[in-house]
């Protein structure tokens, strides 16, 4: 029975590793293609894989060690006494220093990504915000400045509004002003690897970029009430021209007083921006 148990312990670790190896091909990995669609996301992914490698090696090593000592204990002859040892000073030093170095490496290595994400590159204020995203129960309200104008802290008469539909130009860093109208929410775009809580009473600038045009899911990642799960929105990344064009038309559409426009292009262009980028 003892041998069975040591094999039992080793097999769980083997299964865990096997599952992790198989997971990407089964689709149980990062969403969509598995690749981040923003430049900062790619760096985060790179960091993730480095940590994954390090932890996998440690995991396999320690689980094998555990399995080994269990196996040795299971096959130990009945008459033998256990080794009498209170510890080993050298070993203690070794297994303090080596993990220490590895951990220090991880700590220092990832500082740069964090600094790039939140402190150095495009620090708040450095790039102009393209929109103000206000999270509320249970939707995202987005306010864009009128074409050619900067985003003002307070709403302007000619601002453009959308709900649950954030449009950004592709290929350049953009920034949004994230706010909350009621409780705490979190702006989470899994494919872009962006997450930032919307803190009531605070305006938080968040910068990111989309490397390819596309429609990316925007979800809420901080419990905000019973409808937390249904704060479904999208980030629509389009080319710069289409983005500007859409904004122009949105202004017209918003100013429209209900009388049908005589210009057919005016109404269809908004959809065009949407459909041209699946």
């Amino acid at each position: 029975m003892a041998r069975f148990w040591s094999i039992y312990f080793m097999s769980w670790a083997a299964l865990a590793v096997a599952l992790c190896l198989a997971a990407p091909s089964l689709g149980w990995w990062f969403p969509d293609t598995g690749e981040a669609m923003s430049s900062i996301g790619r760096r985060i992914d790179g960091l993730f894989y480095i940590i994954l490698w390090i932890t996998s090696i440690v995991f396999v090593g320690t689980q094998i060690a555990l399995g080994y000592v269990l196996w040795k204990g299971a096959v130990k002859p009945a008459h033998e006494k256990a080794t009498y040892s209170h510890g080993n000073h050298t070993l203690e030093v070794i297994w303090t220093v080596i993990p220490g170095i590895v951990l220090l490496f991880i700590a220092i290595y990832q500082m740069d990504v964090w600094a790039a994400f939140r402190m150095r590159n495009y620090a708040p204020g450095e790039i102009e915000a393209i929109a103000e995203v206000t999270a509320r129960q249970f939707e995202w309200r987005i306010r864009y400045p009128a074409p050619g104008k900067p985003l003002m802290p307070m709403p302007q008469p000619d601002d453009v509004y959308t709900v649950n539909d954030l449009r950004i130009p592709v290929g350049r860093p953009v920034s949004i002003s994230l706010r909350s109208g009621d409780v705490q929410h979190s702006f989470f775009v899994p494919v872009l690897r962006i997450k930032q809580d919307a803190l009531p009473g605070t305006v938080i600038p968040v910068w990111f970029d989309a490397l390819q045009p596309g429609s990316y899911d925007l979800v809420c990642a901080e419990l905000c009430g019973w409808g937390h799960y249904k704060m479904k929105a999208r980030v629509l990344a389009t080319s710069e021209e289409l983005f500007q064009k859409w904004k122009q038309e949105a202004v017209l559409l918003q100013a429209d007083d209900g009388i049908v426009s005589t210009n057919p292009q005016e109404n269809s262009a908004g959809d065009q921006a949407q459909t041209s980028n699946p």
Partner: protein, 126 residues
């Protein structure tokens, strides 16, 4: 308890007088209305610390206790100081701009500041 045997009523009374004097000092510091409030803050906090030390050392007999007092109090005091200090960068100073009724009102007051609307500024006129 034998440690406290050499403590006399006299010592206690002297400590008591010192505490009273320090209290008067902090009130006086407030009434002086110095130009720089930071000096007042520094004075009164120093006075408070001195008073606290007096109470702890003599009234609470810490002066006569053995080493355990350090083991107990050092971490406590470090934690008690570290708690507000570590909250300071986030809550005490804002990395991200505030946008509330109060912050807008404050901005308005600041903008009106030149025309003399100091409704909630310290006046030191008491």
């Amino acid at each position: 308890m034998a440690d406290m045997a050499h403590l006399h009523g006299n010592t206690y009374f002297r400590v008591f007088l010192a505490l009273c004097g320090l209290t008067v000092l902090s009130v006086v510091a407030d009434l002086l209305s110095l130009a720089d409030r930071r000096i007042i803050v520094a004075i009164v906090l120093a006075v408070a610390t001195a008073k606290a030390l007096c109470v702890m050392l003599y009234f609470m007999h810490l002066k006569f206790e053995s080493g355990w007092k350090y083991v107990l109090l050092a971490p406590t005091i470090v934690l008690a100081l570290a708690l507000p200090l570590s909250l300071l960068p986030d809550v005490g100073m804002h990395y991200y701009p505030q946008d509330t009724r109060q912050s807008r009102e404050f901005a308005r007051l600041q903008a009106d500041g030149d025309s003399g609307h100091h409704s909630s500024e310290p006046t030191n006129s008491h």
